[in-house]
């Protein structure tokens, strides 16, 4: 526990025990870390997921975050980082001076040649800001460039999927740390009492794409208490595990069963006085409420035809990216703190043009729709939207190389992400790469810088946001000293 936190706990505890009677306030108990998993309602605020005392550290510019993770390493060269000069380098070796002898993946380190593959796609300047974008396969995202900040200079340490994903989501390549969403749920709680604070979707991806594995740790609580785990709402089956009553049990039956359960639990509470018993009583009621609130969440029939059209035809199919994106908006509308979508299949070592087109077909329209939909509802100002993967791809081709067909290996040195909404600058491009999109030449942004900036938007000073683990004050942003990237902020 953070010592400051412990101090505040002491205050709270004293205050709390000044009260008369056995009124076991959830905030007090949870804050003391004594009820361990208690998430019962705070008697003063009525919150089921209260924030930590003292948080946010300052006025946030975003109340909620929706993070669209494009898993596998989307090619920055074929989406955002336009390099017109590359057409003269088709099938010519990447100059050694550019490559600089740094670490290659062992999938291409044995290659004898490193022939450049210019993107086959058409790029245009769009919006008032004139941001370059691939309009062949991102026609919808091209419409929102005035609302986003594009970062071309994100870089990571890891060159393989598993450590890179673990790094981008938990700030460490080694498994065991807490994920971004868990940190936020832990620190800020949630305004919705009937839904989890941190919700995750793992939508479908193209059948013939190279789908890398996802890991629960990407939305896991790591060393934080497990109640801060992201809850994966599922595309097929029940959206929340074990949500529906078993066949043969109607709502009234469940209520009767719960009434008896709670009456007996009240007696246990009287008998032993254990605050955990009170928490358990509250949690069974919360479970009962979730059995209604979650189906209500997924009932998208009440959306207007115009809204559904905005997200595209897939929106009515549960489990698609579009459907998940719409649910993400409905979640933040309901006060949920963090929503993450993990879309797989962006790992194009070969047949890149064909496969990345399929990837975009599933995600482009709904990603743009999400931003536009939030904007027209006035929610974009308080919702931070993030789009990006775990690393980029190399300018040189792997395998077959023709003008229209090529593959690209992993490239950690620079890749693109975009941010929009709550506190983020509009119509801006940050960072620049060399003519080969191989090295950053201006304004590098590390993963830890990015995460520090995201926390900043949420009202958190990353350097003061820690949790004691294995003798360290563990932080999402690691032990180095990353900085909030002020240029990205509105």
């Amino acid at each position: 526990m953070d010592p400051r936190f412990e101090y505040q706990v002491n205050q709270t505890r004293r205050h709390f025990f000044g009260d008369s009677g056995l009124k076991l306030g959830g905030l007090a108990l949870a804050a003391m870390g004594l009820s361990n998993g208690s998430a019962m309602a705070d008697t003063s605020s009525g919150m089921v997921h209260p924030p930590l005392p003292g948080l946010p550290h300052f006025k946030p510019s975003a109340k909620a975050i929706i993070y669209l993770h494009m898993n596998g390493g989307p090619s920055q060269l074929d989406l955002w980082d336009h390099k017109p000069g590359l057409k003269d380098y088709f099938d010519k070796d990447l100059p050694a001076s550019v490559q600089g002898g740094q670490r290659l993946s062992t999938m291409t380190s044995g290659q004898t040649r490193f022939p450049c593959a210019p993107s086959k796609f058409k790029f245009e300047r769009k919006g008032e800001c004139g941001t370059w974008v691939n309009t062949d396969i991102l026609p919808h995202t091209a419409k929102i460039v005035d609302d986003i900040t594009l970062i071309k200079s994100i870089n990571t340490n890891a060159i393989n999927h598993d450590p890179a994903c673990t790094f981008v989501m938990t700030g460490s390549e080694v498994p065991g740390k807490a994920s971004l969403g868990s940190w936020l749920a832990y620190g800020l709680g949630s305004e919705n009492n009937d839904l989890p604070a941190f919700v995750v979707f793992t939508p479908q991806f193209p059948n013939d794409s190279n789908g890398q594995a996802l890991y629960n740790r990407m939305w896991g609580s790591g060393f934080l208490p497990t109640r801060y785990n992201g809850v994966a709402l599922r595309g097929s089956g029940d959206p929340v595990l074990y949500l529906p009553d078993p066949d043969g049990v109607a709502r009234g039956d469940r209520r009767q069963m719960l009434d008896a359960l709670q009456a007996l639990n009240q007696k246990t509470l009287q008998r032993f006085g254990d605050p955990e018993t009170q928490t358990r009583i509250s949690q069974y009621e919360m479970a009962f409420r979730m059995q209604s609130s979650v189906p209500d969440l997924t009932r998208i029939e009440d959306e207007s035809a115009a809204t559904l059209e905005l997200y595209g035809p897939d929106v009515t199919k549960p489990g698609t990216f579009a459907h998940s994106a719409l649910l993400a908006r409905r979640l933040v509308e309901r006060g949920v703190r963090v929503v993450q979508l993990f879309h797989r299949g962006w790992d194009q070592h070969g047949s890149l043009p064909y496969q990345i087109s399929n990837q975009c077909r599933q995600t482009d329209q709904a990603s743009a729709a999400l931003v536009m939909d939030l904007k027209q509802r006035g929610l974009l100002d308080e919702t931070l939207v993030v789009w990006g993967g775990e690393f980029g791809r190399t300018v040189y081709s792997q395998g077959t190389l023709t003008k229209d067909d090529y593959g690209r290996d992993h490239h950690p040195r620079n890749f693109c992400m975009w941010l929009a909404g709550g506190g983020i600058r509009r119509g801006y491009v940050h960072g620049e790469t060399d003519d080969f999109s191989y090295n950053i030449v201006k304004d590098p942004v590390s993963i830890n810088d990015l995460n520090a900036t995201l926390l900043h938007c949420m009202g958190i000073d990353h350097s003061r946001f820690s949790y004691k683990f294995q003798g360290l004050d563990a932080r999402l942003t690691g032990v180095e000293s990353p900085s909030v990237v002020k240029a990205l902020l509105a």
Partner: protein, 1041 residues
Amino acid sequence: MFQFSRIPALALWAIIGIQISCCLSATAAETKPIDFNRDIRPILSDKCFACHGFDKGHRQADLRLDVAEGAFDNSRSTIAITPGDISKSEVWSRITTTDPDSVMPPPDSHKELTVAERELIKRWIEEGAPYAKHWSFEPPQAVAVPNTSHPVHNEIDAFLGQKLEERNLKSAPAAAKEVLIRRLSFALTGLPPSTADVKAFLEDNSDQAYSKLVEKYLDSPQFGEEMARHWLDVARYADTHGMHLDNERQTWAYRDWVIRAFNQNLPFDQFTISQLAGDLLPEPTEDQLIATGFNRCNVTTSEGGSINDELLYRYAVDRTSTTISAWMGLTGGCAVCHDHKFDPISQREFYQMYAFFNSAADPGFDGNALLTQPVLKLNMPEIRTQQQAIDEKLAAVQTQIDEKAATVAYQDPAAAEPKSETMMVENVWMEDDFPATGRVFASPGAATQYVESLEGGAVFSGKRAVKRTDAGLAQDVWDQAKEPLVLPQGASLFAYVWLDPANPPKAIMLQYHRSGWQHRAVWGDYEAIQWGAANTTERVGMGPLPEVGKWVRLEFPVEKVGLNPGDGLTGFALTQFGGTVYWDKVGVAGAVNPATDPQRSFQAWWQQIAGKDVAGIPDSLKELAKGGPKPDVDTALLQRYYVQAICESTKANFTDLRAQAETLKQERQRLEDSIPSTFVFRDMPSPRESFVMIRGAYDKKGDPVQPEVFAFLPPLQKADPNARATRLDLAKWLVAPNHPLTARVTVNRFWQQFFGVGLVKSSYDFGSQGELPSHPELLDWLAVRFQTSGWDVKQLVRLIVHSAAFQRDSHVDQELLANDFENRFYARGPRFRLDAEQIRDNALKVSGLLIDKMGGKGVKPYQPANIWEPVGFAGSNTRFYSQDKGESLYRRSIYTFLKRTAPPPFMSNFDGPNREQFCTRRERSNTPLQALQLMNDVQHVEAARVFAQRILKDGGADDSSKIRFAFQEVLSRQPAEDELQIVQSQLNAHRQRYQGDKDAATKLVAHGESSRDESLDVAELAAFTLVSSMMLNLDETLTRN
């Protein structure tokens, strides 16, 4: 003048000001002399050591405050601490100044000293600033047992009583016997007590009643299961590799060994040595080798593109950190990149420890294999016995074959006069078996199946035929032939096939392998099987499917599929799309000269195999066979083998006997394959050189290091003082009598297991950032006692559960909550939620579903759809969860298959770790998702229904006695009158509802794979199912009280 680190800062005095106004209440420390370790070190460690501690890389102003020599150094122009004189102590002026540029800690560290903390530091300096070595780095002392007025069952209570008196806390009376037996049973076996045990215990009024119960539980096999699951969290045991594909690994023998070790009460020092260095013991036993699996439980990967050196480095770091944490309770991970900031572990020392583990023989890439070397094949005596019986039968059959071979006349056509002429022959490659000289394999999911008869009649020839049924593309393949099958002149390939009229395939295909599988003939739907370029010899359409329901000979010239006489085939495959297909008698027809045909001439055959190792030839003849034809040697036995096994003109005489032998051999092999292996730890033949890795980067080697232990701990005693230190030296050092940490850390973990929180709450950190022990003398006393008892785990457990503190009533009132919220002073008994495994096992046990079979491969009980699949890698063998059937659904949870990247929800939902890293302490959360699981998971709904069946059958005649029965079975007690009423009205409501809706009732009682008791009224069963479910969801049920 020296400089504290000086960083421009914001004024945070406002915040400190607030703290002054609500300063902490009086603590015991104000009235007692200052104790450095208790009162001062925690402050310095948290607020000062990061810049003024052990880590020289980050040390500011070249000042150390962690040792007296640094703080008192009077060679400096300004002295940090002058004992006894705060006016000459720069520390004091710097922590009290209002100047934001010089105040300590600097504001941007976000650390502040409270008023109370500053007061303590002042008093400490005034008292002479005595330093002491960190408490846990001094060996535990045999402390005298104090006197106390509190009830004392054993020495534990005497130590606890002293603190209770100091705090003026009253200890609670003993818990009711019904409560106590549950507490003890869950603590020692992880299961609720049986009703019979409860009855016996309540009726036994002797002084030994409790002790008898303790002994019974200590002796039960479930004791080992309950103890083991705590250790398996530390050992990060799981059933998959953990990264990337996250494929299955087979190392469950380690899990079973841990259970066995606790049940056999293996002394903890041996438990330690076996796991860390069992392989280095003289003539290690199988168990000692299995135990080394501890150091193979770390996550591994085989992700393409990874770098071998980096993986090896990470594994060694993981093993080092885990060992440091598991036995010494220290956080070694910090020293991977730099000197430890708080504890005296230098980065160099970390890598010296790492050098013990850095010579591991296992590879960086796990190969995504079930068994990544080094592995140990287990001794399975019962299987060896079965194999011996088979060997005897096999020898008898072989004798019959040999005797018969002696009677079969054979003359080598090569030696015949006149010379033989070319003739048309059939060489049969597959009759009852595929040729022994290659490999047989089949489509994933179903091994090659042989049948001796068909639905519609007999096999075509010989004893048996190959059968396959599949909905899609499937095949039986023979390949990797050591001896090519040579195509004769004018050859045509043939095979006999029988298609099931009830389930015909869409297409069948014959495939042949020369240098590749590019020779295919297909009958039926040409597009059904998309292999090979269409309309080339890679895929030749032979027309419609043959007639169903009869044996049909398929035959075509070899040229048709791009082959030529003289080609040697090294494989063929029998392929189908859908349907049921039988194959028999596969071969080639063509023209040969018997005198030169290896299938007819012994000499030709011998010539052909000369210099080669050919499968199937008896060992005693191998050398002779390989040597090739020689004059003047006795060829009788080799020729006898040829006659029975190879020769086309004679081998038909032996079909029956050879089939018998083959069946026996296959059975023997099946038994062999069923013997599991397990991961073991071993070093490479010569040690890998170890280096300090700069900033923890795998490719930045600094100074070379040798295996060595931390300098602040007792020196290592090497078995051979002149040799490199070994892991065995290390393991023995950990359990040496003068080691200050191992015994303390271990008894603390057991204490945590029984009381919910350790005497040192941070059971993972005994360093200066960890919490101080609540009862340091008790911890030392227990540690010394544990060591001197010979590290006797059962005795330690016996001692703890016999204490009055363990047996107290857990009732807590407001005043006690205020004084001791977490029960760190043990005025009341421990009360906390059951662990994940216990919750599930309890439901199974109470319902009567629990199968108490121990050990073996991890089982896959009920799990909702889409737990593995959404995260699964496309090529992973743990992508799809395939739920087991029957008793595997009801085994104890410790045997559940644990996939690291998607652990079973019943575990993760209740704070079970994913076993990616060691875990010495689980959280205990209390969430709505848990409530949903316990109410709605099929495992629990089924358990409720099966328990309801018991209530209806065994619970007596009327509702009241049935409800009493339910209370007794679930809670080990009788209900109070108002409790009875609450349940009765619940039951009434459900009964009325389900009598009016039998459909709903029928649905409710249908959950789960166990069949419902049809003799019971469905509405009644449904009503009691919900009552049972309610009972199984009670706070009292889910809590170890």
